[in-house]
Amino acid sequence: MNPLKTDLNGLKLKNPVTVASGTFGFGREYSEFFDLSTLGGISVKGLTLKERLGNPAPRIVETRSGMINSVGLQNPGVENFIREEIPFLRQFDTRIIVNINGDEPEDYARMAQILQRADIDSIEVNISCPNVKSGGMLFGTDPEIAYQLVRRVVENTRHHVMVKLTPNVTDIKVIARAVEEAGARAVSLVNTFNAMAIDIHTQKPVLFRKTGGLSGPAIKPIALRLVYEVYEAVSIPILGMGGITNAEDAIEFILAGASAVALGTYIFVDPMAPVKTLEGIEAYLKEKDVRSLSEIIGKAHE
C-alpha cells in the first residue's frame, strides 16, 4: 500500500504534495525542471470567464521573508484554458485542480457549467483573491454570500468542489462552516494576507494597486494556526498552504489537520522544493513508522 496517498473527500491524490494556484502557471514552466507526475495535484493559475489582462506594474514587491503580489488574475479565460492547457496537463499523472474566480457570484456558476465536460479533477472556488476590483475576496468574507455562491457551483457541476478561503476575516471558521453546509467537499487555505509596502523615497505604496497579497515563509505560523482552527470547525478535509518551504513545514500542516498541502511562493526560490518536500515527508513517515499518512492528519489535536 502507498503510505502517501490521501483523499480530499473524493479527490484522491497519490501523495499530499500539490502546488498552489498562481505560483505554477499551467505547469509548463516548471515541467522543464521536474516531472509533474511527481505531484499529487496542480492547482492552476486562477481563471475567469473571459480573458483578463491583469494589473499594471509594479505587481510584486519582496518584504522580509515574503512577497506581496498584485497580479490581478491575468489569465486566458476558462475556454482557452480548456482548449490549450488541459491536453498539456493530462500528459502527467497528477490531479488537475481548476481555480475559478468571478466578478459576480453567477460568474462562478457559469464557469462550473463550462467546465462540466472538461477533463479535470476538481474545481477550486476562489473567493479569496485580494487583487481585483470586484468580487474575489469580497465573496469570501461574507458567510451568506459564500454559501449562496458555493451552492450554485455545486448545483452546476459533477466535479469535486473545493473552496479556497481568505485569512482576511475575523473568524475563518464561520466561512468554512458556511461553505461546508453549501456542499463543498473540501476547503483549501489560506490565500494571501492583505498587505502593503511603501517606498520611502517616492513616499508612495510600491504596488500599482497600493495593496496586494502577502505570501511566503512570513505567513506560515498564521496559516498553520488557521488550518488548526478550521480542522476543529468542519468535518470536510483541508488542503493546507501558506509559506511552506520544506517537509518540516508540510508535516506541521498535516499534523494541524491538512490532508494535503500546497507549496507556493517557495517554488520561485527553489523549483525543486515540491519534490524535496515529498521526499522529506516519505522519509518522516518511515522514520516514525507511520504506515499511512491518514494516521497523522490532525494528530496535533490529540
Binding site: G25, R28, Y30, P56, A57, S65, M67, V269
Partner: protein, 256 residues
C-alpha cells in the same frame, strides 16, 4: 533554462556602487547577449527571492561575467561573495538581442546608461565576433564611468555626466545624428529608453531595448514582471519581461 551551479572566480569593485563578478559554471554554459540568470542569494532565504542579473559577457566556455550595481540586501550580499563561493542560478533566461539580418558594413548603435551597459558588453563582443565592422557605442554614466576596455567596437564614446552635463540621447542627436544607423540596441534608465524610441521612431530603424522589472520566478510562472505592450484587440496587453523579454522591440512597448 535549468538549475545550475558554479563558483565565483573573482569579485572586484568597479566603483563605489558597482562590482564585477566572474562565475565559473560547473558545465559549459550557452547564452545569447541580453539574456539573464536568476541567482539565489542566500541558502537561508534572506532575501527570499532570487535576483535577476543580466549576463555581461563571456570570459571562456564555462565562465561568465556579471556587472552588478548594489541596490539592496540581495546585491549587497552578492558583492561580498569571495572567490570560491558557490553560486546557485537558473538560466539562461529570457530573449536576448536579435542580431540577425544586419548588413555587416552598415553602422549599428549601442546605447547604454549606467548599469544598463552590463549586457551591452557581451552584445558588442558578439557583434565583433560575427564581423560587424561599424558598431558605435555611446555610454552615459552619472559619475565614475567604467567598462570602456571591454567594448570591442568601431567607435566608443563615454559621457561622464558629473563632468559633462549632457544626456547620451542629446549627444547622439548633436554628434552622431548624421549617421545612418541600421539598428539600435539600448539598455538603461526608462527615461533614456523612452527618448531613444522617440528619436528613432520616424526613421523606421529597429530599436531593441532591454527592460528591467522586479521578478519573482524569472521563468514565466508568477506573472510578476509585467510590461505593457501594444495590442490589436485590447488597448494593450501585458507581456512578461522574464520570458517575452527582457529585450523588446521599442515600437511595441507602451511607456507610462
Amino acid at each position: 533554462m535549468r538549475l545550475l551551479t558554479g563558483r565565483v572566480t573573482e569579485n572586484a569593485a568597479v566603483n563605489a556602487q558597482v562590482f564585477r563578478m566572474g562565475v565559473r559554471m560547473d558545465e559549459p554554459f550557452e547564452f545569447s547577449p541580453g539574456q539573464f540568470v536568476n541567482i539565489r542569494v542566500s541558502e537561508y532565504d534572506v532575501p527570499l527571492l532570487r535576483r535577476p542579473i543580466s549576463i555581461s559577457r563571456r570570459i571562456d566556455e564555462t565562465t561568465i561575467e556579471f556587472l552588478v550595481k548594489v541596490e539592496g540586501i540581495g546585491t549587497r550580499q552578492m558583492g561580498q561573495w569571495s572567490q570560491g563561493t558557490r553560486v546557485d542560478l537558473i538560466g539562461p533566461l529570457g530573449r536576448g538581442f536579435d542580431i540577425e539580418g544586419f548588413d555587416k558594413k552598415a553602422p549599428l548603435l549601442i546605447l547604454g546608461g549606467g548599469i544598463g551597459t552590463a549586457p551591452l558588453k557581451g552584445l558588442a563582443q558578439e557583434l565583433a565576433d560575427r564581423g560587424y565592422e561599424r558598431v558605435y557605442v555611446l555610454n552615459g554614466f552619472k559619475e565614475d564611468p567604467y567598462g570602456k576596455e571591454d567594448f570591442k567596437c568601431f567607435e566608443y564614446r563615454v559621457i561622464d555626466e558629473s563632468k559633462e552635463p549632457v544626456y547620451v540621447t542629446d549627444y547622439l542627436l548633436s554628434h552622431w545624428g548624421g549617421i545612418a544607423f541600421q539598428g539600435v540596441f539600448a539598455c538603461g534608465p526608462m527615461a533614456m529608453l523612452r527618448r531613444v524610441k522617440e528619436i528613432f521612431r520616424e526613421g523606421e530603424i529597429p530599436v531593441q531595448i532591454s527592460l528591467e522589472e522586479k521578478m519573482a520566478c524569472g521563468v514565466g510562472a508568477c506573472l510578476g514582471c509585467a510590461v505593457k505592450i501594444k495590442c490589436g484587440n485590447f488597448q494593450h496587453r501585458y507581456q512578461k519581461v522574464c520570458v517575452d523579454g527582457p529585450v523588446f522591440d521599442a515600437s511595441e512597448v507602451i511607456f507610462e
